[in-house]
């Protein structure tokens, strides 16, 4: 398929009946680039499911805030506008994510926790934002799965049969991969620029101009979680580490060992906290 045509189709994905209603409502709010924290707060509070999910998420081990967070406003102040927009997107596509690929949610949560651990260890100033970007880095897979459900299921089967990476299977079929689809859609939907850039370059972090450190962290978190074998991201192989990302983040053997240990403990807690409805 022609790439431009594919992009147009993907950018119109919000018109599909299979797209969650809550996501459509969210897009109506996010559309305005000047949307205030107050408006976002009102929007969240107007929806019971959204409120519950947001509170569950900020209280989960993905973030590890000390003490309990009881209100949406409290969550917004701790997270900031950019992180909240990303978090809203992730809770709105949660069900679609589980349907697209069994294990993708677990993979994404694993990346979010690992990314936060790396960010904190390296003294990065906004660990929540990195963590949200990690949670959403594979949104392109969900988007391709929503737009082309049968084809995407077959791509997962093809990747397994041919022993190739899922992004290779995607490229063979669509000429583009999920990182492209993820960039297109988050850009179209006016999500924060930093988030769009991390999603776009999570396989090629050395190309990120504005957020090279965030992108490198998410890239490495993705690889660590795949190496650990937690969740499922579309294939059973560990991708190679990008040289410059590795040098940017500069983790020692002890760092990696401790990140793996700390993440291990948090993973199961996160599952329990987030998934029980």
């Amino acid at each position: 398929m022609d790439i431009q045509r594919l992009r147009e189709q993907i950018e119109r994905i919000d018109t599909l009946p299979t797209v969650p209603v809550i996501l459509k409502k969210l897009l109506g709010v996010i559309e305005n680039p000047k949307v205030s924290l107050n408006e976002i707060s009102n929007f969240i509070s107007s929806d019971q499911v959204l409120t519950t999910r947001i509170l569950k998420m900020v209280n989960s081990s993905i973030y590890g805030f000390p003490g309990r967070i009881y209100s949406v406003n409290q969550a917004l102040i701790l997270l900031g506008l950019n992180a909240v927009k990303g978090m809203l997107l992730s809770v709105s596509i949660f069900d679609a994510m589980k349907k697209t690929m069994m294990g993708l949610w677990e993979h994404s949560v694993g990346c979010a926790i690992t990314a936060r651990k790396i960010a904190q260890r390296k003294g990065f100033k906004e660990p929540e934002e990195v963590s949200i970007a990690a949670l959403l880095h594979d949104i392109g897979k969900v988007i391709l799965g929503l737009k082309f459900p049968e084809e995407y299921k077959n791509l997962i089967i093809d990747a397994e049969a041919q022993k190739i990476f899922i992004f290779e299977a995607e490229k063979n079929h669509f000429s583009v991969e999920h990182a492209d689809a993820g960039e297109w859609i988050t850009h179209k939907w006016n999500f924060p620029k930093n988030l769009v850039e991390v999603i776009k370059y999570h396989h090629k972090p050395d190309l990120s101009k504005n957020v090279p450190v965030q992108t490198a962290i998410v890239h490495i978190a993705d690889i660590l979680v795949r190496a650990r074998g937690f969740g499922f991201a579309g294939d059973n192989f560990v991708p190679a580490i990008n040289n410059s990302a590795w040098q940017t983040i500069d983790l020692s053997e002890t760092d990696i060992k401790e990140i793996l240990e700390e993440t291990e403990e948090l993973l199961e807690q996160a599952e329990d906290a987030l998934l029980s409805e």
Partner: protein, 110 residues
Amino acid sequence: MNNIIKEISLPKILVDIDSLSPGMKLVKPVVNKAGMILLGEGTLITGVIIERLNSMGVNNVYIEGPSKPQKTIEEVMLEIDERFRKTENEPYMYLLKRLIKKHIEGLYNK
């Protein structure tokens, strides 16, 4: 689908009611919004139970994952070798593989 989810290492997995089938086993109780237990842990799923869960508006439940009974450490190590097969000669990947193996060994020796 089973071969696709085999990499999930936790024995617990969450499934949608749509993908639930008879013979699966609950690993966590199903609780309604009021906190009342509808089905206890260990309940074996049947067609009738799926219908009832559906009618009560339950969206998803935890079932026993495919990795139970737990894999032996040798099996897990072979899986790690397989996962790294394509990239282990790339920079840092051998180091990463060694650290992952050490980490997994640590989990088994706990």
